[in-house]
Amino acid sequence: MKGLNIRQTEYEAVIGLEVHAGLAVNTKMYCGCKTEFGAEPNTQCCPVCTGMPGALPVLNRKAVEYAIKAGLATNCSIIRYSRQDRKHYFYPDLPKGYQASQHNLPLCTGGFLEIEVNMSAKKVGIRGIHIEEDAGKLIHDESGKYSLVDYNRSGVPLIEIVTAPDLGSSEEVRAFILKLKTILEYTGVCDCKMQEGSLRVDINLSVRRRGESTFGNRTEIKNLNSVRAIVRAVEYEAKRQAEELEKGRSVRQETRRWDDARGVSYPMREKKGADDYRFFPDPDLCPIVIDDAWLNEIKSSLPELPDEKKKRFVLEYKLPAYDADFITGSKQLSDYFEEAAKRCRNHRAVCNWLMGDISKKLNESNIEVSDIPVSPENLAKLVELTDSGIISWKIAKQVFVVMWDTNRDPAEIIEEKGLRVINDTEEIRKVIIQVLEENPKAVEDIRNGKEKTIGFLIGQVMRKTGGKASPGIVNRLIFEELERLFHE
């Protein structure tokens, strides 16, 4: 979209998010059906989650505990007396004509998360976290005649995290989502597989002139499921609204959809009164009362959270703050790091592998940290082998490529391929003499003062030894041999 860039205008965006996170539990919110992703349609369903007449819900305790965990990890107060409400609307994927949710008395309220953008920290308020059930899924069939309904997802437990309108830019939104994602992964509350829809985001956005305290009309963009789409949608929508205002028009308060392929948002068709959800307490469900004992039990089950872990990594492993931040940004990555780090002495090297070659590989192959083919044990061995001079840094990189494809023990690979560093001075000296004989012009150049050419000769030596020659020895001997030659 051409036109003005909101950053350079007198407008600022005011953004709040509603994040729906699928809970990492085995069974649905109100029945014992499985929550597994990707099953055959309508094979994880029962009378309860398909809204058959007379069926009644019974709440999954673990879902409540996970919601509370998420609340504690985001600095929320836990409401000790909480209710479940019915939220009414009609859609074919919603089997009961209402969604069991929480309205007046959610489980968690009043929290915050700290994010860092451009080196400055910001607190983003969390208004509340409540539990609710997911809806089914609509599949569009090939003939184009039907929409098909699969209720496998119907009743899957979700939490909805509602932020205050504290975010001001796509960078802040991005930082918030990543931080939240990390925390949900750490606590085990959600697997955050966005491509499977286990983290979905609605964006509430308005713009106003900088410095104004009132809010403009806001739009809601629903159901975004990738960080990239969220960032793009925020940027597009802020710009669109600013342009509307710039043209002297007002922004329509409406719900919009994001078309990621075209990179635009567009208004959804809405019926009058459709946003009146007529919440009331679900008479089939009883209140949730959280006493001290239960709350303490949940508290004590919370793992170390990313901010604490980052501090510990700096202290314990002597990682630079930036590196510690990167590694602890993913629970799986930090777990991997610790697994490897406890098996070797050079922790910085482990960190470098993770931030360098491994991250690169992950990006290239689009796989999750949990699927890294190299085990932490083998990575630790590789670090040890490099550190003790058995292989060079360069060879280590070759070995790593083999490890990625086979997850074999690096020592084995080195032996098998004869990649061990050559420390034998006489062997190296022979190669050097041969190189000097083969490159009389280079030798001549050096004699005439072009010392840079030594690098070329060293390169030749390394090539002849397949990179295995100990660089220190090569360096020392090449000077010795040149001296000898010049003195002859």
Binding site: G51, P53, P92, P283
Partner: protein, 486 residues
Amino acid sequence: MELTRLTVSETLKKIKGKEIGIAELVSAYLDQIENLNKTIGAYITVCREDCEKRAEDIQNKLDTGENLPLAGIPAALADNIVTRGVLTTCASKMLHNFIPPYDSTVSEKLRNSGAVLLGKLNMDEFSAGNSNENSYYGPVKNPWDFERVPGGSNGGAAAAVAANMACFAVGSDACGSLRQPASFCGVVGLKPTYGLVSRYGLIAFASSFEQIGPITRSVEDAAVVLNAIAGHDPKDSVSAKSRHPDYTVFLNNDIKGIRMGLPKEYIGTGIQADVRQRLFEALKVFESMGAVVEEVSFPMTEYAVSAYYILSSVEAASNLGRYDGIRYGYRAEHYPDAGDLYKKTRSEGFGFGVKRTIMLGTYFTGRDCYDSFYKKALKARRLVTEDFEKAFDKVDIIVCPTVPVTAFRAGEKADDPIGMHMSYVYTVAANIAGFCAISVPNGTDSKGLPTGLQLIGKPFDEGTLLKAAHAFEKNTRFDKPFDVIC
């Protein structure tokens, strides 16, 4: 000997004493249904083949010494109680073809007790009504006078038991929907304390008010059936956790010293003179047995029906949201898109009374009405409940007529939704507060139509309630409908 005239207890005795066979018994009931159902319309579905086969199974079990508390007793369920494999319509076009792939807890319990399911009973569509004139399958007639309504919503259940078409029936009571028809048809109707009987598989109308209970020919039968259906169910979140006693133990005809409260607001205007007369005669019976009757006051009485009207509509509108023609039941034939599919299906599938309830319930929780109607009604609910709690500090049981009038003529009140609800003025409080209550026959009015006496008990004190009702029954002798009509 007329097999279909016997109570549950009498029938059990004869079955266990091998005086009668279950097949013979079931076939007697099937004959009775065959003869009368066309006229009375109590049944929507009759499970002829199923129950003949089942009679055989139970007889075999019995002959091999198995002990089943309701062995071979021919029973019927209201058609809002889900029965696996048996058509369950809720008396609505919306579910005209619904064959549930699962069972209600109550149906399961009755089967495990050895009862034989004769069929599914007519009722007001989705429980919305109190005269059983609002069924997709046609109205039910009162066995005492075919011109009159049997009451509702469980007119089918009361009529079937009164006309010997079932040994007992089980239905649900949201504001008097078992007790009022029991009163109109001269049989016993029990609404247990909220949470005593599982609602799993009860097609929901007013979830926070309704309880499943029996309609029987005697108080003892009510106790026997309650024994079979009561108890905690992990599938119903608001089901009570405590264990229930054997209710037959309470039936000892000893009510000396029991304190009974007569609500003075219930005997003022609007009550039929001979209904009031029967009430005072009943109080004399109680006093003659050593009970102490005193006056109590329920100043909130006039708000009870209004609060119920609002809250039940709200819950019903929500509960009826699932009928959309997608997963089960009726689907409209012509629908250009999914939105029309919904609207057409619901408009064609629901009767007018149900649509009115849905519209009202939707209206009461809308943005503009939430506080003035919905929330206000919730507060009224508390005030009505507090009236009763205060009374129960002084007395053990509340005694009053079940309905201020006897059965009215069909069509008489069809167009008067508010007036119709006034027939629930004495029964609704027990649902508002969740207390247990029973209606027992209390003679007839000047036209020879039955009237009921209602007793209301403390929560989970069905023991005392049944004891008092049983003592009253044993010390009175009223006509049974079969003496009149059959």
